[in-house]
Symmetry: C2
Subunit: 301 residues, 2 copies
DNA sequence: AAGTTTACATCAAATAAAATTATCTAGATT
DNA sequence: AATCTAGATAATTTTATTTGATGTAAACTT
């Protein structure tokens, strides 16, 4: 009993004839006979009464016919559901982002993506990089955008967008008219630090060490738990700090803050599209990644 | 895409492994691999992510899995529905009877049959013999019981029960103490006739002609349209008549009427179980016929 | 870090199943 | 009786399925 035999059986019932059924599905008449015989042997009962002029189902055949129609119909629906899924950009997409991406990068992308593919429902999960990576490996989150390179053989990454970290100062600061500052100058000013686990803070420390400076020389008047707090601290003249320009773009645009490159420090990092190496990307996920690349390709090249 | 492949696919999803699935359904691992490959080629997409330790469905695979479960479940339900139908005596049975059978024979059978097989719902269609035969050939009525031999190559019949036609008289009749009457004596009494189309009337005329008597000699005071009317006529002394003993058994048992054999006339006929020669009898129909034969076998042998 | 195990893919060969052509049979139809 | 029609049957070719042996890559072991 397989779908092919059921299909043949249904065709015989509907054509009321073995030979007409065989023509309808491009088979020879003996092939139809043998498949029907196989079904009848399987169920150990007659399914079709060969009446001479026409062929009609027996009572048992009538029962099988009803079920066969349902089964074949379900098969067709399965096929079209899969083809819809593969063809149309429609369904659910779960994206994960670490702090900066979930706050500043992904929200900017979701708007126009949703406009382009209104039938996709997106969910954005925020968490620290390791949480996101763990969920990607589990297959729960399909796509991650994080600010660190992951050293895990199950993960593959691609650069999405450059993050330029700069010194952020209030417009009223004495350096507001300057085009850049030197790293050494930072040690004279009150500096707002981040908590130890912060990716941003790690980047700052690493770039100073790489350049031969001792970060301990910074006058860290206060340590803040997140980017928003740091920005508030700068606006309120608590001190200055180094931040992702992505995170303060709005404040720079509205002339509330100014960003200055720090000479002597390699403060560039990247945000990476982060995927499971082994799991298959859904068509929706593929579309989202294409969209992200196009978005930044257009804006920055 | 056939049921076998879906079954294998479901097994892989549920075992989270190609090799475990292969053991679960007694196949080699390469067989499972090749069937999965075939499905993936058919849908032109990956259905399972081979993650190393375990295997999990992709989003497309998840969709197919849901449908596969439904399809296989429906297949199982179809099988058990058919096996129930073939094994258990359960369902519908449409029986057709001509006048005497539908009035006196079949109702007697239905009672005990229903008691024995309470899950069978019986419908009894009454009609003249030709109507019944027509419906049997169409497959609408499965079993007929009629009082005539049918000369049709599409019909097969089997004797079910003998019908002894006898002269029926009131208990107050002058012949009430006699054991039989001679055919010639009938011509002296008022006789209740039946309408021309009646099988009973045809049988009476034929038996008289066969015996060399002219039925026109009967003093037919009235012609009745059905058996009940004739019985009422006899009870009310309108006249006497020849009837199936089957039809008046109750009145004989309750001593309201008496039946006398008519010497010189061959008034025996049979009621026949009547079936389509080509159509397959349902298990319920088979059970009913067995029951009928046993019923009369026990009562008359 | 090299060896071992696990899990699946690949290939060639054997086996099984499906399909075809040609032929046959039983009822209808002429 | 001859012809036609619908399906059954048989022998053959074609196509699928299954398997055992082997390969590969990643994950565990020690």
């Amino acid at each position: 009993m397989d779908l092919w035999q059921l299909h043949i059986f249904v065709s015989v019932v509907e054509n009321k004839s073995f030979s007409k059924a065989s023509q309808a599905i491009n088979l020879s008449q003996p092939t139809v006979s043998s498949h029907i015989k196989e079904l009848e042997d399987y169920f150990k009962c007659r399914l079709l009464d060969r009446l001479g002029k026409i062929t009609e189902p027996t009572k048992a055949g009538e029962i099988l016919y009803q079920y066969s129609k349902k089964i074949l119909n379900l098969r067709d629906r399965a096929e079209s559901a899969l083809h819809d899924f593969l063809g149309k950009t429609k369904g659910d997409l779960l994206i994960g982002g670490s702090t900066i991406p979930s706050g500043y990068i992904i929200p900017k992308l979701i708007g126009p993506f949703s406009k382009k593919f209104p039938e996709v429902s997106i969910e954005l999960a925020a968490g620290d990089t390791m949480q996101i990576v763990r969920e990607i490996k589990k297959g729960k989150i399909e796509i991650g955008i994080v600010g660190a390179k992951i050293d895990d053989p199950g993960i593959k990454q691609e650069k999405l967008v450059a993050d330029e970290m700069k010194l952020i100062i209030p417009l009223s600061h004495k350096w507001a008219k300057r085009a850049s500052v030197d790293c050494l100058e930072l040690f004279k000013e009150s500096f707002i630090a981040r908590e130890k686990g912060s990716g941003t803070w790690k980047s700052i420390l690493k770039s100073m060490e790489d350049a031969g400076f001792d970060p301990k020389g910074l006058k860290t008047c206060v340590t803040m738990g997140n980017t928003i707090s740091v920005i508030q601290g700068i606006l309120n003249h608590v001190g200055i700090s180094i931040l992702s320009t992505i995170a303060v773009q709005d404040d720079i645009d509205t002339k509330r803050l100014k960003a200055l490159p720090v000479k002597g420090l390699a403060l560039d990092r990247f945000f990476y599209i982060t995927l499971s190496k082994k799991r298959t990307l859904s068509p929706i996920g593929k579309k989202f990644i294409d969209f992200c690349k196009a978005y930044y390709g257009l804006n920055f090249v």
